[in-house]
Structures are given as structure tokens and as C-alpha cells.
Subunit: 221 residues, 2 copies
């Protein structure tokens, strides 16, 4: 029983039991807990990314989190934790192998997170849950989340042997203490143009580069 699923020392074991009960197995099932657990996982991973990658912009953080908390990633964690062995499933789900299904495993894992939170509070929940995601957060490529938009755009283009972007100042307005800059970022292949504004020229360029990256990634899809 070394591998038994014991994510937290529950004061109220019935919370864990409910979290591990699929709705096919009884009226006290884990769907409401899953609703709460989903929000907890999102926050715990958001905060960890925010602290670990102080230079990542909002878009990079959002994309990184989406990869870490998607159903398939949660199911992988649930399997590592041997959660499936503890699941309560109705006979139909049991017969059809529900304990191996990604959606059932991911939902149950989220429900367990909520159970810990209700049992012992947010701090205890975060302490129990964060280690599950630590390896995934550390493994994120710094080039994706840790670099600014101009650097990422440059690397994106270099990686595809395309010409580097050109930044052009379009407008500079305002008094010295309250300046506003508008910058255009242009690339040749495909011919695209993005604009950015900011209180510094560099800030405007960063915004234009981020917008250009979005355009290029959309065009590449």
C-alpha cells in the first residue's frame, strides 16, 4: 500500500470519500466539489506561475496554465497519484473502465483539491497541491514564459529563418512627464503590421511585438 492515494490527513474523511465518488455511484458524488476544485487548481497554478516567472506577460502565463491544468494533464497527475484505485464508480462505469478515463480522473482530482480546502483551508490546500504541479512549472521553457515579447518575437522568426522585425515610431505625444508613444512593428513573411502604445518607446515596442506574435501564431495555425 505504499502507493495508496493519501493527499492530505483529513479531519473529515467523508469529504475525501465524496470527492472520490463519481455521480454514477451515488447521490453524494463529487460534481459540486469538482466545481470548487477547478477554481482552486486554477488559482494555485496561476499564483505559482506568477511567482516563478516574474517576466512572463499575461498571455504567456495564461497559455502556460492552460497546458498545466487541462484535462489530460490532470489525468496524468491522477494516475501518478494512483487515484483511480480509490474511485467509487457505478457498475456501468466500472465495467466500461471509467477509472481509466481522463475526464473521470481529472474531475476527481479537482474534487479532492476542494475536499482538502474545505477540510483544512486554503493554505493547507495549496501546500498539498503545489507539489503536484512543481515539476511541470519548472519544466516550462524559459523562452516561452520568461522572456519579453521582443525577444520572443525575434526567436520565433529566427527559428523559422525569417527576416527580423522592423520597429517604427509613428507618434510621440504629451508633455515630458506624461509621454505617449505609438510604434509599428512590421515583418515581411507574411507581410504583417502590428501597433503598440506605451509611455515609453520600449514599452510601445513590446506591446507591438506581443501583438505581432499573436498575429503570426494565428497565421501559422
Amino acid at each position: 500500500m505504499n502507493d495508496a492515494f493519501r493527499p492530505h490527513a483529513f479531519a473529515d474523511e467523508s469529504l475525501l470519500q465524496q470527492a472520490l465518488t463519481h455521480r454514477s455511484a451515488g447521490p453524494r458524488h463529487n460534481e459540486r466539489l469538482e466545481f470548487l476544485g477547478d477554481a482552486l487548481v486554477n488559482l494555485i497554478v496561476a499564483e505559482a506561475l506568477y511567482r516563478r516567472w516574474p517576466k512572463a506577460d499575461e498571455g504567456a502565463l495564461t497559455r502556460a496554465r492552460a497546458g498545466l491544468v487541462c484535462e489530460s494533464a490532470l489525468a496524468v497527475l491522477a494516475r501518478e497519484l494512483h487515484l483511480g484505485d480509490r474511485l467509487a464508480l457505478g457498475p456501468g462505469e466500472l465495467k466500461s473502465g471509467g477509472a481509466r478515463r481522463d475526464s473521470i480522473l481529472a474531475d476527481a482530482l479537482e474534487a479532492v483539491v476542494a475536499a482538502i480546502h474545505l477540510d483544512a483551508g486554503f493554505e493547507a490546500c495549496r501546500a498539498a497541491v503545489l507539489p503536484w504541479f512543481a515539476a511541470g512549472i519548472e519544466a516550462l521553457p524559459a523562452g516561452k514564459v520568461g522572456k519579453d515579447a521582443k525577444t520572443r518575437l525575434q526567436e520565433w522568426l529566427q527559428g523559422r529563418q525569417r527576416a527580423l522585425p522592423e520597429y517604427t515610431l509613428i507618434e510621440a505625444t504629451g508633455e515630458e512627464h506624461d509621454r505617449s508613444f505609438k510604434v509599428a512593428c512590421g515583418v515581411a513573411d507574411p507581410p504583417l503590421r502590428a501597433e503598440g502604445t506605451g509611455s515609453s518607446r520600449r514599452g510601445a515596442e513590446q506591446q507591438a511585438a506581443a501583438e505581432m506574435l499573436r498575429l503570426l501564431e494565428a497565421a501559422d495555425d
Copy 2:
């Protein structure tokens, strides 16, 4: 200055300043904080709904939260809190009335939530934020979030002068301690049929009713 925006006694006032700085106004802006604050608001409201509406199913909780935390609802809160008066905007945004725009207000409010969390921790953040949503949570119609699926389906049909649903037991399998029921729920107008399974006949009926409600609401759109 009675109406000044003071959501929390900050130990680190620079966090609040950053939260109130739009990206048009400088490099230390609120976009990363908004990413974190969005997750905090989602969790704080999710937990409040979970506790306040112990009979609401996951779908009802999800819909209720979506209404409470959407951009327009957050902008209304931001206006009640007079947050716009404190916003730092670039000259372009200032001129075009950015301080009155829903998206800028909602994003800044989320960023403020994150600033409180980073300043004082989750418990302090929840204590500061929950009152903003209390009225909205209390105002939710019990018929939407507090009732079970069979009741909601019945009321939905009665409200439209349509015939009530019929529940039919399709299958009952398993030993006494591990029974599984499959139930069909049928309505006449439009002719639709939904199935549910559960370890009790009532549980299977609830699941079938919830599915039927989804079908009817989709057909009604």
C-alpha cells in the same frame, strides 16, 4: 473623499498603484496582476456560491458564477467602488474616456484583488472581496440555483404550459448493495428523450432531468 477607493490597508502601497495602472500608462502595469486576480475572483465567488447554495448542482453554480464575474458585472462593482477615479491611464486612453470603459475597469478590479492577496494573503483577500459580491449572491433566484433538476425541469415546463415529463425505468442491474438504475425522461413538446444512470432510481431520474433541461434550453435558444 468619503468615496475614495480604499479596498484594503496595504502594507505595500506600490501593489495597489500597480493594480491601478493600465498598460498605456507605464511599464509597471496591471496585466500580470489581472491574470492572478481573475483566478482569485473565480475562486472566491465559487466558494461563496458553493456554501450558500448547498443544493445547487454544478451546472447551476457555473452559470451563477458566470453572471457574477463577467466583465460587465465587475465593471459595475468597480464603478460602485469609485475605482475609475484612481486609475492611471496613458494620455490616449485618458482622452478617449478609458476610465469609463468596462474592460479597463473590470481588469483593474481583478488586479486589485491580486494586489490584496499578494499584500496580505488569501484570507485577507477573501475578507475584502466577498462583501462586493454578497448582494449578488443573495439575489440569485433560489429556483435557479437551489432546486434539484427534477423540480427545475417541472417548473420550466409548467412555466411554458407544456405537459410534464414522464420517467421510465429502463434497466436495474447489480446486487443489492451495488445497484445501478437507468431511467429515461421523455417530454412531448418538442418530443425529446434523455437518459440518466445512478445507484438509486431517484438519482437516475435527477440525472435524466438535468440532461433534459439542457436539451430543452438548447432547443429554446
